[in-house]
Symmetry: C2
Subunit: 122 residues, 2 copies
DNA sequence: CAGTATCCCATATGATACTG
DNA sequence: CAGTATCATATGGGATACTG
């Protein structure tokens, strides 16, 4: 079933992306080991705090979480809301742009979750 | 448009993926720097040869192309068809599983292509 | 709590040369 | 043409200690 009636889908005619173009940079941010995980964790919809993110992106070090969050924030994908209270209360959430991206990431993660055992020969 | 009427989407309730589970391994293969590019290059539909892949995954070294191809092949995502001629003629293509994955990768790449300039502040 | 600052290492990635 | 083999390097990533 689902025989492709379209033999060709010329999405990226001249090579997937020219090396060194902005798309490559963004792709690397987005597909970075922890970037995907953080984005998808936030894709649930509700803002998450630092400690929650550390738990949900299981295994992430403080250094990498900080670095990932900084990158995603400066890319305009993640919002950082720091409330001036003590102890500090900071919430991270997706920007509209980030949500848009996450919508494309989630199907990928679903696929991985569904097929990983088969692939890796669990 | 496309206002989310669903506040929560509990795709990955207990943390995106447990650290060390098969999904993490597959995710790393699939989102590896060159893995994505090779998969998407092959997503066009027609089989590609080594040299074509090198051109389309612009910037990839021979070592990394070989390694990426080996991983994707052993994951059952990419087929390798070597014809016993001289000079050698080898074609790579997606397996059904690989095509299924690529279908989820392409929308992501399209998004990246569409938004990269804005994000990186070209 | 939410980070930053350091030190350190594995390995992902790269450049080059060589081969069936 | 389609790789493999080597050598070298950058940096992604981790552990630990410290701080506003």
């Amino acid at each position: 079933m689902s025989v492709s009636s379209e033999p060709l889908r010329r999405h990226f005619p001249d090579g997937v992306f020219p090396s060194g173009c902005p798309s490559r940079v963004v792709l690397d941010h987005v597909t970075s080991k922890w970037g995907v995980l953080v984005l998808v964790a936030l894709a649930e919809g509700e803002p998450l705090r630092w400690s929650e993110l550390r738990r949900r992106a299981d295994g992430v070090s403080e250094k990498m979480l900080a670095q990932t969050l900084r990158t995603l924030h400066s890319d305009g994908l993640v919002d950082r809301d720091a409330r001036p209270v003590v102890p500090p209360h900071v919430e991270y959430s997706l920007t509209p742009l980030g949500r848009d991206l996450a919508d494309r990431l989630v199907p990928l993660m679903d696929w991985v979750a569904a097929n990983a055992a088969q692939i890796v020969g669990d």
